[in-house]
Symmetry: C2
Subunit: 343 residues, 2 copies
DNA sequence: GTCCGCAGTGGGAGCGCTCCCACTCGCGTT
DNA sequence: AACGCGAGTGGGAGCGCTCCCACTGCGGAC
């Protein structure tokens, strides 16, 4: 059971680099990490040695002394298994990967359902195994926004957190404005019996979009009580649409809090023989790939998910590096309306 | 710019644990890591000290000496941004997270499009930053199956790899049998003009399903040339169905290599006024959530994705631990047919 | 001409851990 | 009574790195 081919078989160390370059280990170290106070001559020698030996710094050794792990966690406290069916995650993960990759920071994925897994996740985060945490898809029930700041680990939320919004930095899209824009479009179109399929009540994005919906209707002097809630999935949208249309068969406008749900609603409308947009105008939310492919193509509110994740990740990196005093910090990104065929 | 509150502020070390427990650091270490050769008395004292101090081992220090990082990479060499829209990933990631979590191994997500990002990914893997790699969604163009074994890092493929299948361990579902079963169902049903929407030609899963399709048709003495290819997305399925039905309007049976594509095909059939299953019987592939919600509900081949990812992850862990000689190793998991309304 | 300052350098300590090895001690064996 | 032996223990080295600090030259200021 000899574990591998002896001790340092392979991986050259900084010592070897130093020897080959004819300098001390300290100088080699300085040369490897952005050469402050290193003569041009020494720098070249070290670069050359690194190249020849194929030297790669040992992350563990470096982490031991710097107390930095060079990795950040993407935390997904999602009770629902279908997390990934939401294109929101794809975009977030992809953008985070890119930004982190630029800086050679590794992305550790932490998937945890509330309960026992959440326990372990918190333990993990507080153990200092990562330098920071990016929290995505936060729900009211997970008390992450309250707990994380006390863990002493830098964190940034994607989407406005519950309760802790004064303690925790976050990047969000302007969901209130988005909900308002979607609704105003229907008002301008001449709809007067406008309803909404809102998202889950334990997510701030859903609450905010609903608030925007109400604002627009109140401004137009229209009632705001035609509502149903879905869980951001297509099936949930279908059920909510059935429910809403049963209760309000005279609906002529519908604001849906996600494109996936809107697709479900479109199917229900078709099944009931409602022509879209003539009988029922529909506006979705996301524009992350599904809106183009619905039938008819969905008018929707675009979330600049890529920009959002990008900003959030950079903000986290900044905080890890101690830039920007560590106070709360928020970025709100505007949304845009994308007109297609349903409204 | 004082970085945090001094050096060891907080995190107790093993030394402190040892002191509190009244034993040596060596004994404390033994007690903390599965207590071999530790007296019951000492074990209790250490456990107590760990609890009181809230001790958590420093991963970096441990990694430095054991030459183990305690993390594995999940490699997704996916050229397509829509990776996550495929429920295949959700399942894989979720199962891997669970298995890895049990052992306190962290999951590092490596997303890399072929090209520059792939370069970096390979560099990363060879630098020994992770103990092993689980490769998911491998394509012919990424030469991972050839390159990885030479990197000296344990790896397991989810799905049969191209070319390197003799050098690389993998876990796969029996796609040939799955394709055959789906096709046989249509044959038994009495269909005689059976076509297929196959997956991308650069993925083994697609090739294998197509092979099963051909086997079944040949056994029944039916022609196998009614084919179109899609990219496993709904939109791709739609396009392929249009194409296929344009070329063969008389089709009475359709085997589709993924449920998402099948949904697209169903939409096309509906648009053309074809009744499913009476005019056109359809069988999908996956049963990972979308098959239940199509209209009508899709008859499909179930991939035990959870079991597959579970096995693959455990296999990887075994190889990392040096169990099972390190030779090639393959697991092929059977699929089952799930009958719903489309065939 | 002496001295200060500063760029560049190397020695060495030490991060927190594991593991090798030498040691003690109580027991059964000869 | 002397010995061997194995279970349990502690000392200490060392993993590969960074960073503090002391040192060497060499230029310019006095």
């Amino acid at each position: 059971m000899d574990n591998a081919r002896g001790p340092t078989a392979g991986s050259p160390t900084l010592d070897e680099v130093a020897r080959v370059a004819g300098v001390s280990r300290a100088t080699a170290s300085r040369a490897v990490n952005g050469g402050t106070k290193v003569s041009e001559h020494a720098q070249r020698a070290v670069d050359e040695a690194v190249r020849r030996l194929g030297y790669v710094p040992n992350r563990a050794a470096r982490a031991l002394v710097t107390r930095r792990t060079g990795s950040v966690a993407v935390v997904v406290p999602e009770p629902d298994d279908r997390v990934f069916s939401d294109p929101f995650f794809a975009g977030t993960l992809r953008a985070a990967t890119r930004v982190l990759g630029e800086r050679e920071v590794q992305l550790v994925l932490l998937l945890a359902r509330p309960g026992a897994e959440e326990e372990r996740m918190l333990r993990y985060l507080s153990a200092g195994h990562v330098d920071g945490a990016l929290v995505v898809s936060h729900h009211r029930a997970d008390r992450l926004a309250e707990l994380l700041p006390d863990l002493g680990i830098p964190c940034v939320f994607g989407g406005r957190p519950w309760s802790g919004s004064d303690r925790v930095p976050y990047v969000d899209v302007d969901n209130v404005a988005g909900g308002r824009m979607a609704t105003e479009l229907l008002v301008e179109r001449g709809c007067t019996r406008i309803g909404t399929i809102a998202g889950p009540e334990d997510m701030t994005a859903a609450i905010d979009r609903l608030a925007g919906f109400c604002q627009a209707l109140e401004a137009a002097g229209l009632p705001t009580d035609r509502r149903a809630h879905g869980d951001f999935t297509e099936e949930g949208g279908r059920r909510a649409a059935e429910d809403l249309l049963d209760r309000h068969p005279d609906l002529d406008g519908l604001v849906v809090a996600s494109d996936l749900m809107a697709r479900g609603a479109l199917a229900v409308a078709a099944a009931r023989g409602l022509r879209v947009p003539d009988d029922l105008a529909v506006v979705g939310y996301d524009d992350l790939g599904v809106a183009e492919t619905t039938d008819p193509p969905l008018t929707t509110v675009r979330q600049p998910i890529n920009e959002m994740a990008d900003r959030a990740t950079r903000l986290l990196l900044d905080r890890i590096d101690g830039r920007d005093g560590g106070g709360p910090y928020r970025v709100v990104i505007p949304t845009t309306l994308v007109r297609r065929a349903t409204a």
